[in-house]
């Protein structure tokens, strides 16, 4: 169920949404019983542009996310070919849970805007967020993390970002010097942030956490030396975050080393002292854990956009562990 392009004015978009719901309701009237259930727990704004090579994957992710996090999804796309410079389309994303008679439907609004008219898009977005529910921004536009706060794109995005209960970015493959600047600025302004590079290391962190939980009677992290290796030309944020998180536990400085590996990003972690705990990547979705002489294979599944975003959307409040790791990682990167 979708509309054609319509002017990107909030009242027109909301009217069109009303039409979509009315036509979905027609079916109910014919069948004489409720067939459609409207679900919404938040507004999820996705900001993307033509540089976003994975925007098709992201769109699919959005559909999948609706099942666990029903929301009004607003896709704000910076597109040089945007019709009339700024236009919108309205959809309903529906699915029928297994064994249920009712469809569950969520709203999706696509706003396309020419890059030179980005500033005009903010009032549209501000007018169509769902009142009184959390607003999460998934900012896939890398340029937001590259520019100085005075830049045009950043200025255009500021009102939208200011709405957000939480802003989720992905610092993978961006210049961390600039990205950390931007994120620090957002944090200083009191904004809640999430970084998918942090989410990518949850399986690593959880495995390490479990090792120390299960072996607490003989294995203490305090004083262990941490050494991390990564592949790629520059140190990824995930490695910096993990090093920072480990440093809090070991209370020693972690070292980072570049090492060739078939898999990009973080390659291994070694915690050594009286005992050794080693976690190394052995496949695209597989880790090898070694505690002393014992070895175990651990699944690294969970790094698709859906899984990463699903995890981030379950943590909408203040995240003290991430915030502490971010501060330490940034400070360590600056040194």
């Amino acid at each position: 169920m979708s509309s054609g392009p319509i002017p990107a004015q909030p009242e027109k978009i909301l009217r069109e949404l009303g039409r979509v719901w009315t036509s979905l309701g027609e079916e109910e009237r014919h069948q004489g019983k409720p067939t459609v259930l409207r679900a919404c727990a938040m507004t999820l704004i996705v900001i993307t542009d033509e540089e976003d090579a994975e925007s098709a994957t992201a769109s699919q992710t959005l559909v999948e996310l609706m099942h666990a996090h029903p929301s009004r999804a607003i896709v704000l796309r910076s597109d040089p070919k945007a019709e009339n410079g700024l236009s919108a389309r309205v959809f309903a994303q529906c699915w029928k849970p297994f064994g249920k008679a009712q469809q569950i439907c969520c709203e999706q609004i696509e706003v396309s805007v020419r890059p030179d008219r980005l500033l005009d898009a903010s009032p549209t977005v501000l007018g169509i967020v769902v009142p009184d529910l959390p607003v999460v921004v998934w900012c896939r536009m890398k340029s937001v993390l590259r520019v100085s706060p005075n830049d045009r794109t950043n200025a255009a995005m500021t009102p939208v970002l200011a709405l957000a209960t939480k802003t989720i970015v992905d610092t993978k493959g961006v210049d961390l010097n600039q990205a950390f600047d931007v994120l620090r600025g957002w944090k200083a302004a009191g904004r809640m942030i999430g970084d998918l590079e942090w989410t990518r290391i949850t399986a690593w962190r959880e495995t390490i956490g479990t090792v120390f939980e299960e072996n607490a009677d003989w294995l203490s992290p305090t004083g262990l030396g941490a050494e991390l290796t990564y592949s790629g030309a520059t140190v990824p944020a995930s490695a910096l975050y993990l090093a920072a998180w480990l440093e809090r536990g070991t209370q020693t400085k972690a070292s980072l080393r570049r090492e060739d590996s078939p898999w990009p990003g973080l390659s291994s972690v070694r915690l050594s002292g009286e005992h050794t705990v080693e976690l190394s990547r052995t496949g695209p979705t597989c880790l090898k854990l070694r505690v002393g002489e014992q070895e175990q294979q651990v699944s690294l599944a969970g790094s698709s956009f859906y899984e990463l975003m699903h995890e981030e959307l379950t943590v909408l409040g203040y995240d003290p562990v991430f915030n502490a790791a971010f501060d330490r990682a940034e400070a360590s990167y600056r040194q």
Partner: protein, 516 residues
């Protein structure tokens, strides 16, 4: 139940916002491993925990029953069960292959000391091979008559203590009356301390029952209305459309009052009505639940016919299908006096609820499968508007809040709204929250939740001995009167909402059963 802030400080590598509660190193010994509960609930729940990476390497399961089987035959059998009974979850061959390496089987008679020696030997072998740290959870999934025997034999074999913790999970029924519940408890306490006894009531593990606590104590707007000033009465319904389905022999000894009301529904009632705990931990939550159960007025014998109704279904044709009556079911005595339907009116003698009737009903072969709690609020003091009905204008129906436990889990609130058009006509409308659509992700089954809690040593959702005794105390007079009454059964047809006497019980208070 641990709160986020309560996570252990010893391990700095914790992130309670993102890490799932994991199963600690341990072994589970399941007595009755060839039974229905193991196949339908326990193994599928354990497999799902493995699928979610919540089961550590240092984990093992020992199944026990009389049937002779090798480890590999047991594994094959459990694999078939998991494939058949796992709910809303994929079956992953590679996860199973890894998980089944932790499954073992010991055949043996529950009364035979040699069986426990074999289990002890296997446990110490497993402790070496799987590093389970000597932690053992004994799960009694046998016939209830064996509970005391198994516990006694565990004690005699010295299995109740070891290097790590030892806990025992007991399935319902916890006795068949107050006396037997106390006797069972005494026998268990000879071997295990109360803190190590986990009496499972799977209703308390249901997400939607836990949600009642979140709904009541996480929101500020409902609790002020949650008392005798605003609540007119409460109806708790647990209806099943099926009959006894091959459990006739067991069921004719139990009946609906024992099988559902004494445990599940009184626990649900306590969850709906208990006072807010000062802190959300096992002791505080269970103290409040126990306090509420003790506050339920115990009926006098003479009051039982007025406040409790027993029913039994007879044969009927439903949807073109001939359904047998209870007495025609396999394994059932043709003159059985068993209650396949039970309804009762309870009152809670405390300041919050004094005078508010709580109607509870449960039955088999009712028109549909539904469990819900309906809170009927008082009508406005002045009926200003009239509601159009088939019978002409009537005073509008008062507000109703329904907490739906199953199916279509959720909460709805009925209130009045002006009908469109001229004139001040009002119509009831419903505002719905649907658990499934707001949290579309899979919810864990009650057994997943409860097994992890038992292994993690969190008894919040388990019933304590004082709670069990309090609920038997409430039920006992009804049981006693019913035992000495010869009922003219059957008194309701399959596919109907129970006997007329049940409707009469509410009518005497000026109320009617709602149609869930």
């Amino acid at each position: 139940m641990l709160l986020l802030g309560q996570m252990t400080d010893a391990n700095p590598f914790q992130d309670p916002l993102r890490f799932e509660r994991r199963v600690p190193p341990c072994a589970i010994v399941i007595f009755g491993a060839n039974g229905d509960l193991t196949k339908r609930k326990l193994l599928p729940a354990l497999y799902r925990l493995a699928y979610e990476r919540r089961i550590p390497q240092s984990f093992a399961v020992i199944g026990n029953s009389r049937t002779h089987m090798s480890d590999s035959e047991f594994r094959e059998k459990m694999k078939e069960s998991v494939q058949q009974f796992i709910e809303d979850s994929p079956f992953d061959e590679s996860v199973w292959n890894s998980f089944e390496q932790s499954l073992y089987y010991i055949a043996g008679d529950l009364k035979d000391p040699k069986c426990y020696q074999a289990i002890a030997a296997k446990l110490s072998e497993i402790e070496n091979d799987h590093q389970t740290r000597g932690n053992v959870l004994f799960y009694l999934s046998t016939q209830p008559s064996y509970y005391a025997t198994v516990v006694e034999c565990l004690g005699a074999a010295g299995l109740h203590h070891g290097k790590g913790w030892r806990r025992v999970v007991v399935e319902k029924p916890f006795g068949h009356d107050l006396k037997s519940a106390r006797a069972l408890s005494d026998e268990i306490h000879h071997v295990f301390e109360e803190k190590d006894v986990y009496r499972i009531d799977h209703y308390l593990g249901k997400e939607t029952v836990q949600n009642i606590l979140a709904f009541r104590f996480g929101n500020g707007i409902f609790e002020p209305l949650w008392n005798r000033r605003y609540v007119n009465h409460v109806q708790i319904t647990a209806a099943e459309s099926i009959g006894v389905e091959g459990r006739g022999a067991y069921y004719q000894e139990a009946g609906a009052l024992r099988d559902m009301i004494q445990n599940h529904l009184l626990q649900v009632m306590a969850t709906v009505t208990m006072e807010p705990p000062s802190f959300f931990d096992a002791d505080n939550v269970r103290d409040e639940r126990a306090k509420l159960l003790r506050a339920i007025r115990v009926m006098k014998r003479d009051d039982v016919p007025l406040y409790a109704v027993s029913g039994q279904y007879g044969p009927a044709k439903v949807g073109g299908q001939d359904l047998p009556g209870f007495r025609q079911e396999e394994g059932v005595d043709p003159k059985a006096q068993t209650d396949t339907y039970a309804a009762a009116t309870f009152f809670i003698d405390n300041w919050r609820w004094a005078g508010v009737p709580f109607y509870i009903r449960s039955g088999k072969r009712l028109p549909k499968r539904v469990t819900d709690i309906a809170i009927q609020f008082n009508a406005p003091p002045l009926a200003m508007f009239q509601q159009e009905t088939r019978l002409g204008p009537r005073s509008p129906r008062p507000n109703l809040m329904v907490l739906r436990i199953q199916p279509e889990e959720g909460i709805s609130l009925r209130f009045l709204s002006k009908s469109p058009g001229s004139g001040m006509r009002v119509r009831p409308v419903s505002m719905d929250f649907n658990y499934g659509s707001s949290f579309g992700e899979r919810t864990p089954t009650a057994y997943e939740t409860l097994l992890v809690d038992a292994m993690a040593g969190d008894p919040t959702l388990y019933t304590r001995q004082d709670m069990v005794e309090a609920s038997w105390t409430v039920i006992e007079p009804i049981l006693e009167v019913w035992r000495n009454t010869k009922f003219d059964f059957p008194n309701y047809e399959a596919g109907t909402w129970g006997p007329k006497a049940s409707d009469d019980m509410l009518a005497r208070e000026g109320h009617t059963w709602r149609m869930p």
